[in-house]
């Protein structure tokens, strides 16, 4: 009898513990969360930060619970909210009462920083973001020319949620490597480095409508260069490509090649390996950049039978080599003459390879960089010519 009583008592205790410790006290339903999909940070004329969120709600999708918000022109509109504050964190929580829900940063897909906020300095922004307990460290950070708010409130044709469109573009860039994709953790690491690291961020802009048949809304548009944490300039697509080659991040994209006899060919890059060697003689650094590029032939005009004379491929290779080399040299020239700052990270490479010598030139590195000889050698291998070995015509 006593045994039985003991068993029953323990059963009740177990049930009691199970029921009382399930933490229903702090339960949050998904409808009660304002899930931030994208975030835009601007700095307005009154000297305050303005934050705009794109919020995912259950009613964003047709078929979801709740009343869907129909815009006047038809189609579902994703709610956006705006907050203003003297500091970023203040602005980030300014709209909380107006949303009436708990703001959840866990699913944030992209953070876009406006031009003015970038010029003001991105350190406070990155600091405030890194402090959020629920934020992911792999949130891509982008800069835009003009106001960041414009990007977020832009309506797209593919998806009601703008953030998803940008997220797809980012995922594609990781695979293609035409533009730098910089995550929150990486920019935070670069900003806290003490070794002349020049942070760069990708740039996203609204694309000017080329014609009606192209429904793209955004385009990745080169990159932005920072001095310490302040935006100093933008670089166009071609120079960005050279930067990606130097970093070894260029992966898969097509480039046209003009042959010597006037015919044209298109090559598709299939990976690029970059080796940077630095030599310091008498306190004067020299830099050697060695690129190994693999590519495949996409199309070619003119009578060319690659099976009969494989030397034709070598012609293609040397032309592609020259093209890559020109692109990289153009980027180096832009770094030395246009922006006059070492955004290529050459100083960082010297620090990693020759830490002791670097200590001596550390303070005047940015001036020294302008005269550092940088030699580029490129080696291209055209791996194959697709499914054909000679043109079909």
């Amino acid at each position: 009898m006593k045994e039985k009583l003991k068993k029953i008592a323990s059963l009740f205790i177990i049930i009691g513990i199970m029921v009382t410790t399930t933490s229903c006290q702090s339960k949050v339903d998904i409808q009660d969360l304002a899930i931030v999909m994208a975030m835009a940070v601007d700095y307005n004329d009154q000297g305050k930060y303005r934050v705009v969120y794109q919020i995912f709600t259950a009613s964003t999708f047709p078929g979801g619970s709740g009343v869907s918000l129909e815009s006047s022109s038809g189609g579902v509109v994703v709610p956006t909210f705006q907050g203003i504050g003297g500091t970023l964190a203040e602005a980030m929580h300014d709209m909380e009462e107006r949303i009436g829900k708990k703001i959840h940063f866990g699913q944030i897909k992209v953070v876009i920083i406006g031009q003015k906020a970038g010029e003001r300095g991105i350190s406070p922004i990155i600091d405030a973001l890194s402090r959020l307990p629920e934020i992911k460290t792999n949130v891509p950070i982008y800069v835009t020319k003009g106001e960041a708010k414009k990007i977020i409130t832009q309506k797209t044709h593919e998806d009601t949620i703008t953030a998803n469109v940008i997220d797809n573009m980012v995922l594609r860039q990781i695979y293609a490597g035409m533009h730098p994709v910089v995550y929150l953790a990486h920019i935070a690491d670069e900003l806290s480095s003490k070794h002349n690291v020049v942070p760069v961020l990708g740039v996203i802009n609204t694309s000017e409508k080329i014609n009606v048949s192209d429904s793209s809304i955004f385009k990745l548009d080169g990159m932005a260069v920072f001095r310490e944490d302040k935006l100093i300039g933008y670089l166009d697509q071609k120079i960005t490509l050279g930067y990606q080659y130097i970093k070894g991040d260029a992966k898969v994209f097509t480039t046209p090649v003009r042959l010597r006899d006037g015919h044209k060919a298109t090559l598709r890059l299939h990976g690029c390996k970059s080796k940077i060697k630095t030599v310091i003689t008498n306190g004067k650094p020299e830099v050697y950049i060695n690129l190994d590029v693999k590519s495949i032939l996409m199309d070619i005009t003119g009578e060319r039978d690659f099976l009969k004379n494989p030397e034709l491929l070598q012609e293609l290779e040397s032309l592609h080599e020259k093209m890559v080399k020109d692109t990289v040299n153009e980027t180096i020239r832009a770094a030395k003459e246009d922006v006059k700052i070492d955004f290529l990270g050459v100083g960082d490479v010297i620090y990693r390879q020759h830490p002791k010598e670097y200590e001596k030139i550390k303070d005047k590195w940015q001036e020294l960089f302008l005269d550092v000889p940088i030699k580029v050698t490129v080696n291209v291998i055209v791996k194959d010519t697709g499914l054909l070995y000679k043109p079909i015509y």
Binding site: Q25, S26, D189, V349
Partner: protein, 367 residues
């Protein structure tokens, strides 16, 4: 019935107890990108510490650190030291408990009153400890496998995510010479390696006495290699600058994982690792505190003693620091210098020396 553990169980406990919380922090942050090498170098002092503890144990087999102190320093001084050790184990349990509560609160976004978390976490630990050390050690040995499996899965996911691994972050190795960063990170001796002092309470329970040394040394080496590898992951994932500023680099590193655009947010794994580590670590320290108290008082370990210790630890966890930063500051500055160092290194070394001379004089008397 006397409790017995196998040498493999001893190995898992010695591995898991320091590893339990060391895995969450960027150890040897002073050495920046060379921290993993420093961790590897500090395996040697870690082995040395185990060697000291085991040599002490060989002089007084079948006994624990509490009895050694009384045997070596006499009833008065040894008794005080024994009480100090009991308090020390309880204090470390409280520190670890505070660590884990804060991490769980932050990682899981736990906004409930902490009392519930307290009951759930410490209630389990109290129950585990009251079931005896044999069961705790057996649990540790199976958790060892589970944790390693989880770690391997996470590492595979981490290394197969594109665009996050930056191997060049590991360079330069020791830019300002090897001596300075190694000396600066002396705290590594006390934490994580010094926490293996809990093994002094377990040696006498190992069934195969000849395998103690091998198991303990293997645990220290595996410990060092694992921690060094995790440190490498922090550096190549987050970068040494960011990792040394982040409170929880493990969380930051795992949140970098994103495969095929959807497989991300490995927070669940962190919580699994966290609760398992917390259970083993707090449980073992609490067992040591309970066992030493019972030996000092000359009573058997019973439920009331374990429960009282649980209450003491949970209350102490609140009052050891006002906020988490103060808690970390004490843990990095005060505790290693004035608590860990004397308890883990100074007193055992002194005891070894004294016992050596005592043994010599005893031999002379016999002759």
């Amino acid at each position: 019935m006397e409790e017995k553990i196998s040498s493999y169980e001893l190995f898992s406990v010695i591995f898991l107890v320091p590893y339990g919380s060391a895995v969450f922090f960027f150890n040897a942050a002073e050495a920046e990108q060379s921290s993993w090498l420093v961790i590897l170098i500090y395996i040697i002092p870690g082995l040395l510490l185990q060697y000291i503890y085991i040599s002490l144990y060989r002089n007084y087999p079948e006994e624990t650190i509490i009895n050694w102190m009384v045997d070596i320093f006499g009833r008065l001084l040894g008794g005080i030291l024994a009480i100090l050790y009991a308090v020390y184990f309880a204090y470390i349990a409280a520190r670890v408990f505070r660590d884990f509560i804060t991490i769980i609160k932050i990682v899981a976004g736990f906004s409930n009153s902490v009392i519930i978390l307290n009951i759930v976490l410490l209630g389990t630990v109290v129950y585990g400890v009251s079931k005896g050390v044999e069961n705790m050690c057996r649990l540790a040995s199976s958790f060892f496998l589970i944790l390693n499996m989880v770690a391997i899965i996470l590492l595979l996911l981490f290394f197969s995510t594109p665009n996050i691994v930056h191997w060049h972050n590991l360079l330069p190795i020791f830019p300002k010479g090897i001596v300075k960063p190694v000396l600066k990170s002396w705290r590594l001796v006390t934490f994580p390696y010094g926490e293996t002092i809990i093994a002094t309470m377990l040696y006498s329970k190992v069934n195969n006495q000849n395998k103690i040394k091998r198991a303990a040394f293997a645990a220290i080496i595996v410990e060092g290699v694992m921690l060094a590898f995790i440190s490498i992951c922090y550096i190549i994932g987050l970068g040494a600058n960011f990792a040394s500023k982040a409170n929880f680099p493990l969380m930051g590193t795992l949140r970098l994982i994103r495969i095929a655009g959807f497989l991300d947010r490995m927070d669940l794994f962190i919580i699994v690792i966290l609760t398992v580590n917390a259970f083993i670590k707090i449980g073992m320290f609490m067992y040591c505190a309970v066992a030493s108290t019972s030996q000092i008082l000359g009573i058997k370990i019973n439920g009331a003693l374990v429960f009282t210790m649980g209450v003491i630890i949970s209350v102490a966890a609140y009052y050891i620091a006002e906020n988490f930063i103060q808690h970390l500051y004490i843990g990095l500055d005060f505790t290693p210098k004035y608590i860990h160092f004397p308890m883990q290194i100074f007193i055992p070394v002194l005891a070894l020396i004294v016992s050596h001379f005592k043994k010599g004089s005893r031999k002379k008397k016999l002759a």
